[in-house]
């Protein structure tokens, strides 16, 4: 029996690349998919079936509305559970955010105040999902463009408390951390000191755009040097964490993404070598 895992640097797999990947079967150790695109039964699902036969997958979601105050969408949750049960992905992740409110579907990752009430609320909802899926999930830190006056905690303290309370994993998006540092003055170094690094099960690397002096987490450009630097420093603390190149917009050809993935892999390999040398 082959044990499938997500090791090293993987790629976010997007619809325009599906055919190429099925045809060429590139040497990528794992892919992450936006699972919301594969919860139906159409052609999209047929292509997904072919991908999952060949590659270990991570399921990444954007529609659970984990921090929302309305009941979970039973249709979405049912489909997600069906896919998780059927395909047994290596990892399942979502975001520490709300995405719908009072009937409005924002299709965006909206932030919550960092309060004790929010910790308890979000953690309870994560536990509910974990109980339903019968497995641990990871939650991802957000890029944010707003600070709630009522926040009592830093983002690091908030995420640490949620992870502890829900006993869930952490998906650490280093680009989001950098964007928040630039936009909100929240130090990446402080964030990393406060986060429970032993719970980090995956890293995201991505690019941003600058609009009116604000960095927007568009996933539409190459990863910037500063984020690569942060990644290099982080892997000295925690090597061997599966790392994803996440690109959604201005999608380049597959070979360009592969170049960024190779760079991430080299950094991971170097960190592993350094660690072995110390031991």
């Amino acid at each position: 029996m082959t044990v499938r895992g997500c090791h090293g640097a993987g790629l976010g797999l997007r619809t325009p690349h599906l055919r190429d990947v099925i045809r060429d079967q590139p040497d990528v150790p794992w892919f992450e998919v936006h699972i919301c695109n594969y919860l139906g039964g159409g052609l999209s699902h047929a292509l997904f079936e072919q991908i999952q036969e060949r590659y270990p997958l991570s399921f990444h979601g954007v529609n659970l509305n984990l921090a929302g105050v309305e009941p979970f969408d039973p249709d979405y949750l049912k489909r997600l559970k069906q896919r998780v049960d059927r395909y047994n992905p290596v990892m399942v992740s979502e975001h520490a955010c709300f995405t719908s409110h009072q009937g409005h579907l924002f299709h965006d990752l909206l932030p919550v105040p960092f309060t004790e009430a929010a910790v308890l609320h979000l953690a309870a909802r994560i536990r509910q999902v974990q109980d339903l899926l019968g497995r641990q999930i990871m939650i991802e830190n957000l890029s944010r463009y707003f600070v709630y006056e009522e926040s009592e905690l830093t983002e690091g303290q908030f995420m640490a408390a949620v992870c502890s309370e829900a006993d869930c994993g952490l998906l650490l998006d280093l680009n989001n951390a950098y964007v928040n540092q630039r936009n909100l003055g929240e130090s990446v170094e402080d964030l990393l000191k406060e986060l429970p690094l032993d719970r980090v099960g995956e890293i995201h690397l991505a690019g941003f755009a600058e609009q009116d002096g604000v960095l927007i987490d568009t996933h539409g450009s190459a990863i910037c040097n500063e984020v690569w630097d942060i990644f290099e420093q982080f892997v000295q603390l925690r090597p061997n964490i599966p790392t994803l190149i996440e690109r959604d917009n201005n999608l380049p050809d597959f070979s360009s993404l592969e170049l960024e993935r190779s760079k991430a892999q080299q950094i991971l390999d170097q960190a592993s070598q350094d660690q072995r040398a110390v031991l």
Binding site: A46, V69, H107, E116, L120, H121, Y148
Partner: protein, 184 residues
């Protein structure tokens, strides 16, 4: 009490996004932008038929006035063809063949539905019928272009100048055929 306060915080934030409060401008922009981008992904030929600024303006107006009703963003735009048809009554009513463009929107939405169909794969999916306004505009050249824009689409030559088209799924392809020429 704390939970009430949490709900209040979310109420205020969501309201700010929807009314366009400048303090949450990136979120308001994204709310419009993400839905406009979803339309751009689905209605590729409609975008090509209209001038780029016209299409961009229409998608933003639609995104503002037709809120999403489904969590699946791939299915956003179910009333976009109706919205386009209504432009015939607007200030640019005589500058564009809106009814024809709306027919293409119907076709492209049907293609998207078959791609993301909420049906069992083995069942093949229900056939979606699309009536074409101004079928003389449905030239071979345009059909080829439609096929080029939608790589999973297979277009029958019988569709040229056809009035009744049908979109269905077959294996790993979405098929566009002519209903009024006995293809189904």
């Amino acid at each position: 009490m704390k939970q009430t306060s949490y709900i209040k915080s979310l109420n205020q934030f969501a309201e700010r996004v929807l009314i366009g409060d400048p303090c949450v401008a990136p979120y308001t922009n994204n709310y419009i932008g993400v839905h406009a981008a979803a339309l751009e992904n689905t209605f590729l030929m409609v975008k090509a038929l209209l001038d780029e600024p016209v299409f961009a303006a229409l998608t933003r107006v639609y995104a503002q006035h037709y809120p999403a009703s489904l969590w699946d963003l791939n299915r956003f735009g179910e009333r976009f063809s109706e919205f386009l048809r209504a432009q015939a009554q607007g200030p640019r009513g005589d500058q564009v063949q809106w009814r024809w463009v709306a027919s293409i929107a119907d076709l492209e939405y049907a293609i998207a539905l078959q791609y993301y169909a909420d049906l069992d794969l083995q069942a093949g999916g229900d056939v979606i019928n699309v009536a074409v306004c101004d079928p003389e505009e449905m030239t071979e050249e345009r059909l080829l272009y439609l096929n080029q824009l939608h790589p999973y689409l297979s277009v029958s030559v019988e569709c040229v100048h056809a009035q009744q088209l049908a979109v269905w799924r077959q294996g790993l392809q979405v098929i566009l055929g002519a209903l009024d020429r006995g293809e189904i």
